[in-house]
């Protein structure tokens, strides 16, 4: 079908109002490219393109529920049911899911309920910095395996904090000027103790501490 200005404008209007555009079969590559370009432009509008808090929380609950089901029943695990998504219209999940990657066990087996639910399980100690390289009191960012965090030296002790914002999971920056962690996504802020300092409707959780030890002058983090 050939494209025309009216049809394309209906598509644009849908995007501008954050509506799902009408399904329009197109054989013309230009018409498809025009729509992809419209999407790119739409996303460039200041403030567009961030997930809503409701969506992020709903998804998180779905994933948590799925994890719960599968850690409780370690039989060969089916993929997530559509219903577990709790989302409208999320079709196509079933297609080719497990094909592309080696499927491993997802969760360590039913970890005994522990009060210290750790960020990392089945990991190893990994050296990340020399103690001598850490300044007193100033957080230093590091990344090791799956962990992104900050190390803060106080005397000869070192504290580790996760650098993942507890709002929506962006990686925090440290502002030396304001001596706090700042989220580039939605502006959440945390003291260097990990305590949240911003005014959200529901207070954010603290930044989780990381497991840190010092071995022969090397600061090591328990990581995967």
């Amino acid at each position: 079908m050939n494209d025309d200005p009216e049809q394309l404008d209906r598509h644009v209007e849908d995007l501008l109002h954050d509506r799902k555009p009408e399904r329009t079969p197109l054989s013309d590559e230009d018409a498809l490219r025009a729509r992809q370009t419209a999407a790119m432009l739409r996303a460039a509008k200041p403030g567009a393109g961030l997930p809503s808090k409701e969506f992020v929380e709903r998804m998180q609950a779905s994933i948590g529920g799925w994890v719960g089901e599968h850690s409780a029943q370690p039989q060969p695990a089916p993929r997530p049911s559509r219903r577990s998504l709790l989302l409208t219209g999320a079709a196509g999940i079933a297609a080719g899911v497990a094909a592309a990657v080696g499927v491993g066990r997802l969760m360590p087996k039913a970890a005994a309920p522990s009060l210290n639910q750790a960020l990392v399980e089945n990991g190893a100690w990994k050296p990340v910095k020399a103690l001598a390289d850490l300044p007193q009191g100033t957080p230093i960012a590091f990344r090791s395996g799956a962990i992104e965090g900050f190390l803060i030296r106080q005397g000869d002790e070192v504290k580790g904090l996760s650098a993942v914002c507890t709002h929506m999971g962006c990686i925090l920056n440290y502002s030396k000027f304001r001596n706090q962690f700042e989220c580039p996504c939605h502006g959440a802020t945390f003291e260097t103790s990990g305590r949240p300092t911003d005014q959200y409707d529901t207070p954010l959780p603290r930044l989780p501490s990381l497991q840190v030890r010092i071995e022969r002058g090397q600061v090591e983090v328990y990581s995967v």
Binding site: P5, K20, D30, M59, G89, G104, A118, E121
Partner: protein, 187 residues
């Protein structure tokens, strides 16, 4: 000092400072998948949003990506592996979306979705748009800026540009088609 607690993981920087990790809010705790989700949901959502340009599709597709990805994920992936795995799933999900939604026959993919994405895609999105707009003739650039970046309605755009509403739609049509071809050339 004690080398170990349950699970073989608890040793802290100083024995006097054993910090208990805060209780995670979710009943399932801070497991690997939840962590993977939290650290990447915003980036993946933005990646998808910049390709579909609307919230309902972006939410559906993001949900699909995570549900596909976690069902195939090992629990010992590194951050770079995880990131590229999520983006790869996002790409194939988007390709399927375009195919199902728009193509009359499942033909070739748009090259945009087969190319590996830049790891830090979103901070660059604005620059990519600027670069694209800079390739366009003035009138095309104006109409796209007014409609998309400033959110003008067709009527407002018509007033601003002293055109009829029909002409605005035609101009927008030509501008998007031209920009789409320029984008193909740039990529």
């Amino acid at each position: 000092m004690g080398e170990d607690k349950t699970g073989g993981a608890a040793l802290f920087a100083s024995p006097a400072k054993v910090v208990s990790l805060p209780q995670a809010a979710a009943p399932s705790g801070q497991d690997h998948l939840t962590w993977a989700y939290q650290t990447h949901v915003t980036a993946i959502y933005q990646y998808i949003y910049s390709r579909v340009g609307n919230r309902p599709d972006a939410e559906d597709l993001t949900a699909q990506v995570f549900m596909k990805a976690i069902s195939g994920m090992r629990n010992d992936v590194s951050v770079p592996e995880l990131r590229s795995w999520l983006y790869r799933v996002a790409q194939t999900t988007l390709a399927d979306h375009w195919r199902e939604y728009y193509a009359e026959d499942a033909g070739e993919l748009d090259d945009d979705v087969t190319r590996p994405p830049a790891p830090r895609e979103n901070p660059e999105a604005v620059h990519r748009v600027d670069a694209l707009l800079a390739t366009l003739p003035e009138s095309y650039r104006r109409v796209l800026e007014l409609r998309f970046l400033r959110g003008y309605s067709v009527r407002e755009t018509a007033q601003e540009l002293s055109l009829s509403e029909t002409n605005v739609k035609v101009l927008q049509f030509r501008a998007l088609n031209r920009a789409g071809r320029e984008r193909g050339r740039m990529s």
